[in-house]
Symmetry: C2
Subunit: 247 residues, 2 copies
């Protein structure tokens, strides 16, 4: 099991093989075994297999080719709607349309998602997360007909791998793990933590290709630019409000 976890790589090229219904159900069922706040299961998944639907979803994920190429696209949602509706029909005064509970449901949806991914991988499938679900949440919501209180949190492509990429680099473990108290990010600590990543040949290439001074600037000036971040952040916040979440 730990082997499946540590050998994860995102798969961006799939064989043109469908995933059997029964296998997909087994994987999604495994998803629901993840811990969930108060056993409330404040999440849903929309399964996209229809070619036309995938074509509508592709531009909302910035036309990443895997959206159309993967046999299955899963849109993982935080879902307050189902629980709220149950409360309403049982004359129970729900109070979940707020910031705390949307965060609870984002966490629960993410645990559900990660169980799905590991279950899929343990069955020989490959997955790739698409963080773009949060960027175009309103448009995705329209295509998938998500009601009030339902927010796309992330998306996952699933299929049989047609590539075997190398493991991605990670920061050294002591960058992430703090013993008893948070270790302040002093200049020396930051230099140590990031030195290996900055020294990678791929990093040097990104810096050169983009005409930047260093890798951090590739992130801030090319990959995730401040103006884009602010735009999509405001859009997301507005969408949550329009979905009935009081923030």
């Amino acid at each position: 099991m730990i082997k499946t976890i540590v050998e994860h790589r995102s798969i961006r090229k799939y064989k043109s093989l469908p995933i059997a219904d029964e296998l997909l159900s087994q994987i999604l069922e495994a998803g629901t075994r993840a811990s969930t706040t108060g056993n409330m299961q404040l999440y849903s998944v929309v399964v996209t297999r229809d070619e036309e639907k995938k074509a509508s979803m592709a531009p909302l994920h910035f036309n990443q080719p895997i959206v159309k190429e993967a046999p299955v696209l899963l849109t993982i949602c935080a879902d307050l709607n189902r629980f709220n509706r149950w409360c309403e029909l049982r004359k129970a005064d729900a109070g979940y349309d707020n910031f705390l509970w949307i965060l609870n449901s984002v966490v629960d949806a993410s645990l559900f998602a990660q169980n799905i991914c590991l279950a899929a991988e343990s069955e020989g499938l490959g997955i790739c997360y698409l963080g773009t679900a949060l960027y175009n949440a309103p448009e995705i919501s329209e295509v998938l007909k998500l009601p009030n209180g339902v927010i796309p949190v992330t998306a996952i492509t699933v299929g049989y791998p047609d590539q075997n990429p190398p493991l991605t680099d990670r920061l050294p473990l002591d960058a992430i793990v703090h013993d008893e108290c948070y270790s302040p990010n002093t200049e020396q600590r930051i230099n140590e933590i990031f030195s290996e990543k900055e020294a990678l040949e791929s990093s040097a290439r990104f810096v050169a290709e983009n005409g930047k001074e260093n890798l951090a600037q590739v992130f801030t000036d090319v990959r995730y630019k401040k103006a884009d971040n602010l735009h999509f952040s405001a859009k997301l916040l507005q969408f949550l409000k329009s979905q009935g979440v009081d923030i």
Copy 2:
């Protein structure tokens, strides 16, 4: 692997056995193999093993006994601080202190957390999530000395199981899975989805013990009350703002 996933139960009673440092490192390392937006690893974990520290943390988790009884308490944090600090030192104009990126980092921290749990379980350990981390995020932050941009998202107790509880019930899979489009939660659908849960003997007991009309009211009037939800939601939002997140 799928076996480890589907056999998960939260463990709330542990043997008084420590967890070897090497095993803990292996598990946390497995955590870092989870997918992460742009490979930015916007998360951290604070490990609490010190008895005094656990005693300070216990009331912040509403004195749930496992906080003191588990050999290890992990506080999983969304962490924008490390990445921001790197950008700052490299003269890169970061734009991550906003709603979009705090959600990105909450998702990433949750995937990291779930990998840790499954790795722990596959090594014979038991875990229990404590959603209370979000309720008392400011106080937890003070005890663990979390800097700007670092938010406790969830906590996990880890130890060798000293109980073997039954699997928890879940909603039927078709409550969670939507084919191509979201299936509206009509009255009929809600009645069907929740009928099994409402018919459980434990549900009848909760309803009777609390003098309520039905299970939904046990949630809204006893377990997660509207007034509490609103209080903790406002407190959390305020805390994020005070940590430098622009919402």
